[in-house]
C-alpha cells in the first residue's frame, strides 16, 4: 500500500491523471478547475508527465481538440467547470455518440447569471442527457480513485464512452484531505495501455463523424443507449477490481446506517460526507434515519435505486441544482421516475440546497428532516423546497 499524506484534492486528481500516463490534455482554465490544469501543466513542464498539453483558446476548442486526439488514438483528458462545460455542451453530445473514451473532471460550479464561482451541480445537470458516463465523487480520495477508474471504464472495448467524474467545486477541489497514494505497479496492473478500435491514421483510413439520415439515425442512438446501459456491468467490474487492489470499494448506490431506518436522506456528491454526520446525530437522538448515496448517475442505476429505496417509507432527496420552471431537483425527479411503477411508493421530499455555494451546515439537514416530519403529520408538502431561501 502507498503512503497516506495530506494533499489538496485538485492535486490528487492531477496525480491520478499523471499515473494514467495520459497522452494529450487540452484544457482551458476556469475557477474552480484551475488548480488541476495548473498542476498538470507543471507536471508536463518538469518532465514528470510525457504528454502534449494543448493550451486551447476556449472550452469549445478544448473538447474539439480532445475529439481529434482521442480519434488519433491518444489517451485524452480535460477538466472544466460551469460556463466552460456549457461552452463545451455542443461537443459533449458529439464525442459520446462518436464513442470517444475521453475522461473529464467536472469541478461542479453554478451557472451564470448572476455570475458566481461557487459550487452547485447546475453545470452537469444541464448536460445530463449528453450520453456520457457520469460519476459523482464524495471526497478527495474518491476523486482520485474515480479518475483512474474512469480511464479504465472509458477505454474498455465493451464501453468506449467518455466519462465525467464530478467533484464539488471548492468543497472538494480546494481542500486538503488525507490521501492514500497508489504505487505505479498497481496502476500498471489495473490500467492497460489504451488500445483503440479505430484511429485516424493513413495506414488504415477510416471516416469518422458521417451524417445520418432519418433511416439510420434512430439506430445509432439506440446503439449509444445500449452501450451506456451495458457499461453498468463493466463499471462494477472495474470498481471491484480497484477494490481488490486498494481495499477501497465503490458501489453505484451506497447505504449508510440504514438498518431499521424508516427515513433516509438521498444525496449525490460531497453531501454524502455531510449526510453521514447528520445521520449519526439523528440516530443519537433516537431517530430511525439513514443515508443513501448515489455515486453513479449515468447510466442511471435503476435497479440499485429500487432495491435500496423501496425499503424505506420516506425519502429526503437533496439536490444541488434546480430545473427552473420544471421538475425542481433533477435527482429527485429521476428517482421519482424510477419509483413510478411500484405499487407502494415511498414518500418523496425534494430539497434543493446549497445553490451557488450557500453554506449547508448539518443543522440544515436536520431542518429538512423536521420539515418532512411536519409535512407527514399534516399529510401535505410541496413538490420541492428551496432550503433556506429568503423570499
Amino acid at each position: 500500500m502507498g503512503k497516506r499524506i495530506g494533499m489538496e484534492v485538485s492535486l490528487m486528481v492531477s496525480e491520478a491523471v499523471k499515473l494514467a500516463d495520459v497522452d494529450v490534455i487540452a484544457a482551458y482554465p476556469i475557477t474552480p478547475q484551475t488548480h488541476i490544469v495548473e498542476h498538470l501543466s507543471e507536471l508536463v513542464a518538469d518532465g514528470h508527465l510525457n504528454a502534449e498539453y494543448i493550451c486551447v483558446e476556449s472550452e469549445h476548442s478544448a473538447m474539439s481538440a480532445c475529439a481529434g486526439s482521442s480519434a488519433a488514438g491518444a489517451r485524452t483528458y480535460t477538466a472544466t467547470s460551469s460556463q466552460g462545460l456549457q461552452l463545451m455542451s455542443e461537443l459533449l453530445y458529439v464525442v459520446s455518440a462518436m464513442r470517444m473514451p475521453i475522461v473529464m473532471t467536472v469541478v461542479n460550479r453554478t451557472l451564470s447569471a448572476p455570475l458566481s464561482i461557487w459550487n452547485d451541480q447546475s453545470d452537469i445537470m444541464a448536460n445530463r442527457d449528453c450520453g456520457w458516463i457520469m460519476i459523482f465523487a464524495e471526497n478527495g480520495q474518491e476523486s482520485f480513485d474515480q479518475t483512474l477508474c474512469a480511464f479504465r471504464i472509458a477505454e474498455d472495448r465493451r464501453v468506449l464512452l467518455p466519462v465525467a467524474v464530478n467533484m464539488d467545486g471548492f468543497i472538494l477541489s480546494h481542500v486538503i484531505e488525507p490521501y492514500q497514494t497508489v504505487e505505479e505497479e498497481i496502476v500498471e496492473k489495473f490500467l492497460p495501455p489504451f488500445d483503440p478500435l479505430y484511429t485516424l491514421h493513413p495506414d488504415r483510413p477510416v471516416t469518422m463523424g458521417a451524417f445520418a439520415m432519418p433511416e439510420l439515425f434512430a439506430e445509432t442512438k439506440m446503439a449509444h443507449e445500449i452501450a451506456i446501459r451495458d457499461s453498468y456491468a463493466v463499471i462494477r467490474e472495474v470498481w471491484d477490481h480497484w477494490g481488490e487492489l486498494t481495499g477501497r470499494r465503490y458501489e453505484p448506490v451506497e447505504e449508510y446506517m440504514t438498518e431499521g431506518a424508516d427515513t433516509v436522506f438521498v444525496t449525490i456528491g460531497s453531501y454524502g460526507e455531510l449526510g453521514m454526520d447528520v445521520v449519526d446525530r439523528l440516530r443519537a437522538a433516537g431517530k430511525k434515519v439513514g443515508l443513501v448515496k448515489i455515486r453513479l448517475f449515468r447510466p442511471f442505476p435503476y435497479r440499485d435505486i429500487l432495491n435500496s429505496l423501496t425499503k424505506f417509507e420516506n425519502l429526503l432527496i437533496v439536490d444541488r441544482a434546480l430545473s427552473v420552471g420544471g421538475v425542481g431537483g433533477p435527482l429527485a425527479s429521476e428517482i421519482k421516475t424510477a419509483l413510478y411503477r411500484l405499487e407502494k411508493r415511498p414518500n418523496v421530499f425534494s430539497f434543493i440546497a446549497g445553490l451557488s455555494g450557500r453554506d449547508v451546515p448539518p443543522e440544515k439537514f436536520i431542518e429538512m428532516y423536521e420539515e418532512a416530519m411536519e409535512g407527514l403529520k399534516k399529510n401535505q408538502w410541496d413538490e420541492f423546497t428551496m432550503v433556506g431561501v429568503r423570499q
Partner: protein
C-alpha cells in the same frame, strides 16, 4: 506548345483520387474540384478534419464515404481545434513510440462560414499555437451554401444572398469581403496563399509549398459555386479565371511574411466582365459597379506594392 504542356502536366500530378467520385456535390461544383486538387497534392499521409458544410455533407452520408484518407467531422466551428488535437495526438504517440515515426500532415478544412465566421477563433488558436505539419484550407464559395446561400463575412459587396437579398433598400451584401488571408498572415505563420481551382497547377504547387513550409500553413481557395452564384454549371472554371483576371480575387503567396503575386496578369480586365452573368450581382447598377471597381483596383495595387517591395 500549349497543347504539349496540357498533355504533359497532368501526368505529373498524383493519379490517386482520395476524394472519390460518387459524392453528391451539385453539377459543376468547383468547391468539390478544389478539394480534389488539394488532395492530389497532399498525397497519402494526411488526416483531414472537416467542418460541417457542403463538402462534409456531399461526401459522408452514413454508411458511405467519398474519402480514401482518414477523415473526421465533428462540428461546424471547430475544424481548427480538431485538427490541433489530431496533430498533438499523432505527435505524442510517435514520441512515446506507440506508433511508428512518419510525417503525417494534419489538415483542417472548412468553408468560408466555418473559417471566417463561426470557426475563426478555433482557427486563430490553432495558427497561434504553431502546430507542426499542420495545414488549414478554406474553401471559399462566398456564402453558407450548405444551408441555402446565406451571406457570410466572405460574401463580396453587392452580392445577393438569401439573408442579404437585394431590394429597394438593399444592395445585397453591404459589407466588403473579409480579408481572411491577411488575418492568417498576421499570425506570423510560415506560409499563407490564395488559390483557385480554375488554376489547378498553381493550387497544387501551393499545397506542396504549404506542407514543405513545416506549418502551420493557411490556404484560401476561391471555390466557384454555380448553385449559389446563380451561374450555369458549365461556367464555374471560367468564373474562377475571371475572378483572378479582373483582380477581384488575386492569387498570391506569403512566405515567411514576404508577399509574392503568383498569377501573371499584365493588365486587369474590368470587374464588369466578372460581375455580369452572375445572378447574385444582376441587380447592380453602373454606379455600384464603379464603386466595386475602385475598391478592387485599390486592394490590388496594395498587393502589387507589397509584391514589389518584398521582391525588389
Amino acid at each position: 506548345m500549349i497543347d504539349k504542356y496540357a498533355v504533359f502536366v497532368p501526368n505529373l500530378t498524383n493519379r490517386a483520387e482520395n476524394f472519390t467520385s460518387g459524392h453528391r456535390a451539385c453539377q459543376g461544383c468547383a468547391e468539390a474540384l478544389a478539394v480534389r486538387h488539394v488532395l492530389k497534392a497532399l498525397g497519402h499521409d494526411i488526416v483531414i478534419s472537416n467542418a460541417t458544410g457542403c463538402m462534409e455533407i456531399v461526401s459522408s452520408p452514413l454508411p458511405l464515404t467519398a474519402w480514401n484518407v482518414p477523415w473526421i467531422h465533428v462540428t461546424f466551428e471547430n475544424a481548427g481545434a480538431v485538427a490541433s488535437g489530431v496533430a498533438a495526438g499523432l505527435k505524442v504517440l510517435m514520441r512515446k513510440g506507440k506508433i511508428p515515426e512518419k510525417r503525417i500532415v494534419s489538415v483542417g478544412m472548412g468553408g468560408d462560414g466555418a473559417t471566417t465566421d463561426i470557426g475563426l477563433q478555433a482557427l486563430s488558436g490553432a495558427l497561434e499555437r504553431m502546430h507542426k505539419d499542420f495545414l488549414y484550407v478554406c474553401f471559399d464559395n462566398e456564402a453558407y451554401m450548405n444551408t441555402g446561400i446565406q451571406r457570410s463575412s466572405s460574401t463580396p459587396y453587392g452580392a445577393a444572398t438569401t439573408t442579404s437579398p437585394a431590394g429597394k433598400d438593399s444592395i445585397g451584401q453591404h459589407t466588403w469581403k473579409k480579408n481572411m488571408a491577411a488575418i492568417a498572415v498576421a499570425h506570423d505563420i510560415p506560409y499563407v496563399a490564395t488559390a483557385c481551382s480554375s488554376y489547378p497547377f498553381d493550387l497544387q504547387a501551393k499545397v506542396i509549398k504549404a506542407v514543405e513550409s513545416g506549418g502551420p500553413a493557411y490556404l484560401h481557395v476561391l471555390s466557384v459555386c454555380p448553385t449559389g452564384w446563380r451561374i450555369p454549371s458549365h461556367l464555374a472554371i471560367k468564373y474562377g479565371r475571371l475572378a483572378v483576371e479582373t483582380g477581384v480575387f488575386p492569387l498570391y503567396e506569403v512566405q515567411d511574411g514576404k508577399y509574392r503575386m503568383t498569377a501573371d496578369i499584365p493588365k486587369l480586365r474590368p470587374v464588369r466582365d466578372y460581375l455580369s452573368g452572375q445572378g447574385r450581382f444582376r441587380h447592380l447598377t453602373d454606379t455600384d459597379i464603379d464603386i466595386i471597381q475602385k475598391r478592387v483596383t485599390k486592394e490590388y495595387d496594395k498587393l502589387i506594392s507589397l509584391h514589389k517591395s518584398n521582391n525588389g
